[in-house]
Amino acid sequence: MATDVFEMGDIDIAWCPGCGNYPILKTLKEALTELAIDPKQLVMVSGIGQAAKIPHYLKCHFFNGLHGRALPPATAIKAVNPKLTVIAESGDGDMYGEGGNHFIHCIRRNPDITNIVHDNMVYGLTKGQASPTSRRGFKTPVQVAGVILKPFNPLAVAIALDASFVARANAGDREQTREILKRAIRHKGYALVDIFQPCVTFNKLNTYQWFKDHVYYLDDSHDPSDRIAAFAKATETDRLPLGVFYVNPKSSFEENTQMYRDDPRPLCERDVDAGKLAALIETFRRAG
């Protein structure tokens, strides 16, 4: 499909040929186009890593911040201007490693943002060390005898934190990934989409084929409002389910702050209320 408004034209993309990031980029542009999102109302927020370069490759506002720190600015941007569509997108190392604390607390906060994680089970940009989602035994230049840590399970953790929307997709399957992304972006509140992404250079274990062989889609028998069932699905390891695991609609962080209860204007459009400030200052004159 035509995704013209997001196209950057002839640019140099720093990803390796064949990388799973390409289909994700393409799918994301399609999802955004189908949702008729205006690039001028879209802010992409990312950290540092190969995946985190994605904002440079589609036309939109972006905040390409520090490694591991996409979620705090994304939360703040949405809170300051709720009119914007905010997507926080990065790699698995960025979001679950360096950024792990923001990941868990952002879920608790529930801002209305979409959190897309390129899960290639490796640190790409720094040349192939283990990421939190690397499989046990995966050998790397640092994990010479193979990974000894238990892989991080982002879905199970998100469900444990009662996240508002939890899904997993596979970069190799653009069709379904697009639908999942659309649902996630439309969802009000925090939405996690962990996307399996083959890294053709540093991860010779979890390839396109491997993912194909190890996944299946949740079907209608799965009730995404059932937290325990969602958790059970998230802990499966033989074959890894894809789709929307868990949906739990609730009010968003921006709403809960009550900053927009009486005044719909984004914070960035408001001025000092001199009268109110003067009144507050006055209270320090009156002994009280």
Binding site: H61, F63, D263
Partner: protein
Amino acid sequence: MRGTQQAAKKQDVSIVLCGQAGQGVQTVEHLVTRILKAAGYHVFATKEYMSRVRGGANSTTIRVCGRRVAAPVSRMDILVPLNEGAVAHVAERLSPETVLVGEREVVGDDDVESHRFLAVPFTQIASDIGGKIYSNVVAVGAIAGLLGLDLDAVVAYVRRFFAKKTDDIVANNVKAVQAGYDAVGRLDVPDGLKLTFKPSPKVADEMLLSGAEAVGLGAIAGGCNFVSSYPMSPSTNVLTFLAQHGLEQGVLAEQAEDEIAAVNMAIGAAYAGARALVTTSGGGFALMTEGVSLAGMLECPVVIHLAQRPGPATGLPTRTEQADLELALYAGHGEFPRILFAPGTLEQAFYLTQRAFNLADKHQVPAFILTDEYLIDSYYNFKGFDLSKTKAERHIVKTTRDYRRYELTKNGISPRGIPGYGDGLVAVDSDEHDEEGHITEDLNVRVAMVDKRLAKGEALRKDVVRPELIGPKNYKRLVICWGSTYHIVREALAEMGRTDTAMLHYSQVYPLHPSTADLIRKARRTVVVEGNATGQFRKLIRLHAGVDVDEALVKYDGLGFTVEDVVEGLTEIGNR
């Protein structure tokens, strides 16, 4: 010493309250200072307290004066110990003239013998009225009595203070304050304690607030509408203040999961167009240094309130120090400009915080407010803030289609757009980037961008606040200080009365005002007074003004300087 003390006492009484954490020392402090101010007396209060919630020993020093007062003294004219151990806690400050007021058992036989003691059985009186809980208010009454305040006014204030409580409670508190007042009336009170100087009705209309409140109000006046922080003494008070008034004043106050989240949220908020603040201390700030560097790289205006406390590491969480100057100056990897304010007065805390928001916005740099526990927790009355002198100046442009966030300009400042305002796209990147904000490995662009960022230093230097020179223009000796010690050094010099000595106070410590070298060279002898062990501001002067200050008077025991500390220290240096 004694001469000084007697002279001072004429129009200057210092009252020290000491008790355990959780015992209500703060209630007594609150009531006494407000009653005094309402009665038209100049008042100052500061406290020192332990990092614990109950127990230990904390104290508050209140001064009441016939002239403006804004600095602590070591001297105790009246000591009100509220628990056993209290007298020991402040023993070094006891003098033969100190009058101890309170319960015999609390003071202890030794001190009752060796000092002037006025027995007021706070607890007993309180119990008789309705419960031990009233003993603090009995103490308030006793202090009011000692100072010879008008009882009706005192009672009226107590009534007002407890207005929201049940009638019973109000009545008991009134009884308590009266009983304390009366108990003192029955005693043989040393003459010197009664306030003889005339109160001024104007004082009653002045403001009385703390450093934390001054910073908080300054932030609001500076247009702050977003604060994200993680609790850490002593910076938390600013977060609390803004949270408490957030809904009414339009400030989104968010407690972040950690300091890293706090600073990155603030930078994100600023990117989106908010006026963003973080407030932090010590180790919390250390965790933010990567974020400071990000603000430098993105050229994102963010204001950082750093309330200093003694380190290293956890150090002394509730104490004061001026030892994070160098940290703030060099925080963050790589090279980029910044602004450091260090307010010395409550007025400066307000106006400079406000200014920090404007300058951060104008120059697109991180701006720091360096305070410390002493300033944050101190109160005094003063005329007030003039809102007509403040303005939240915004420097945001509406973007056009061809907008480039990092357009190369001569002064290094690129017009700043925000997402959703105009037709352009606003792209920022923590990597080295081109004018559009896209990641680059073009090393010529790199050089241009470094030059652009550093070029702002020039404009920043034009906006530097001039240091305040107090005293004779033709000084031979110059006492230099910065930040919270303003009033302390000022009073010390006034007390020393040397006509050859001036004081030079910096409320902006970086960039350093260009007059510095000349002002220092003019003096025959110079000394820096600062609250750290290694003389950090002295080093900063050497580095950035290229002149050496002769001496340093430093203190790093966790308590701030008192007027006497400075007098003694300078005298000793002068005699060398």
